[in-house]
Amino acid sequence: MATRGFTGRRPATDAAGRLPPGQSQTDDFPVLSFGPTPRVDPAAWTFTLYDGPRPLAAWTWPEFLALPRTTWQRDIHCVTKWSKFDTVWEGTTIDDLFAAAGVIPPTSYLLAISHDDYDTNVPVADLVDGKAMIATHFAGAPIPPEHGGPARLLVPHLYFWKSAKWVKALRFTARDEAGFWELRGYHMRGDPWREQRYTDDP
């Protein structure tokens, strides 16, 4: 259905090929969080891998920074319809994290859990084989608190609510358990190229 009088402003051809359906490019870095920015002290920070309730491995901040580090340049896509191109992140890939812990994923799903009790579910297959990292740096500097510092999950090929800010743990779950937004009407997987925004999207 065409809207009378709406002409719109099409993105440049180059940008158009990189924009998933329904997205617009921004040069800003908007912030979306459901509550106040939590105050996370790196001195007290730990990162833990769990299998259900059972801890498998844990790192302090200095230990975490000593893990193998990787830098990526990726486009990111927020479900609120902005996309940002060529963002540069540095951190430890999930592959390197699992290897350092000597962990073979015991299930096919996990929940990323944050310091503000946010959580989000991600299939393990979307995190391994070079698809995701725990990032500590953005654009060459420590991630600012409002963008998720000291550390956030980065899963750039899924809508950005999956890239949990202020992440403190990954918990393997026996089944695909809905996280915070997934319980509130958002899609279980969130692939921007298939426009999986809301619960009933295919």
Binding site: T3, R4, G22, D28, G35, P36, T37, G185
Partner: protein, 253 residues
């Protein structure tokens, strides 16, 4: 956190919406009243809007709902962004009878139902007042006895969206209090504090209100929300009691 989730129906498919009327609220904000076959919303929710050009090109945006649940027409407020793609259409082109597509209602966290009660603190900056207006209207429509306070910071007196309705609600002296803060103007005694809404000003407002908020809803630009949410945490409010919604990015235009 998970226990706090309340049943939110899955959003509907895209539906056709027809513009009933357009009201220019301020030089930068219009209310677009639409009729659309959507499920009833919960105060604080938003919708997705999709516009299609003649050649099939589409643009999507999200807009907050200002009307109370159950209102005959859905009231969306569109702020004009000079560089925007969609907002100038609603300001300069759209007319009653024009049609576009809508999807929703959306958002299951920044919501308030009468049974959620209070004391309820609403803090809005600029067009961030829009979802709070839906909550304030629902509070009035349901004759809620929960103490509620709306603190609304706008650039100037003429940028105060819903000014007449808010002043009337304030004069009526019901359980909803209204504090206006026009940041670029001098105070208007009794109506407008003027000046910056910073941590000290907010603490003063809360002290005069005399209630400890059970729930706080903060909506506006990211710097505004960061500052207000931080000030509320400093004032002793538990972070889990503070719900935020932030505007930003070119996709809001």
């Amino acid at each position: 956190m998970k226990g706090a989730a309340t049943a939110t129906p899955a959003p509907t498919r895209w539906v056709n919406a027809s513009i009933e009327r357009i009201v220019h609220q301020t030089p930068r904000a219009v209310s677009v009243f639409v009729r659309a076959p959507l499920p009833a919303h919960v105060a604080g929710q938003h919708v997705d809007v999709r516009l299609t050009a003649d050649d099939g090109y589409q643009a999507q945006r999200s807009y907050s709902i200002a009307s109370a649940p159950g209102a005959a027409a859905l009231e969306l407020v569109v702020e004009r962004l000079d560089d925007g793609e969609v907002s100038p259409y609603f300001h300069e082109v759209a007319q009653p009878g024009d049609a576009f597509e809508l999807r929703g209602p959306l958002g299951g966290h920044f919501v308030w139902r009468a049974e959620d009660g209070g004391p309820l603190l609403l803090v809005g900056g600029g067009s961030g007042v829009v979802p709070l207006m839906s909550i304030a209207r629902e509070h009035a429509a349901r004759a809620s006895v929960a103490p509620a306070l709306l603190v609304y910071s706008a650039r100037t007196w003429d940028d105060v969206i819903f000014r007449d309705e808010l002043l009337a609600a304030r004069a009526a002296g019901r359980t909803l209090g209204v504090v206006l803060v026009s940041t670029r103007e001098d105070p208007r005694p009794g109506v407008d504090l003027g000046g910056r809404l910073d941590a000290a000003a907010l603490a003063g407002i809360l002290a005069r209100w005399g209630h400890a908020p059970e729930r706080a809803y903060v909506c506006g630009s990211n710097p505004f929300v960061e500052a207000i949410a931080d000030a509320l945490v400093d004032a002793g409010l538990a972070p889990a009691r503070i719900r935020t919604e932030r505007y930003g990015g070119s996709a809001s235009g």
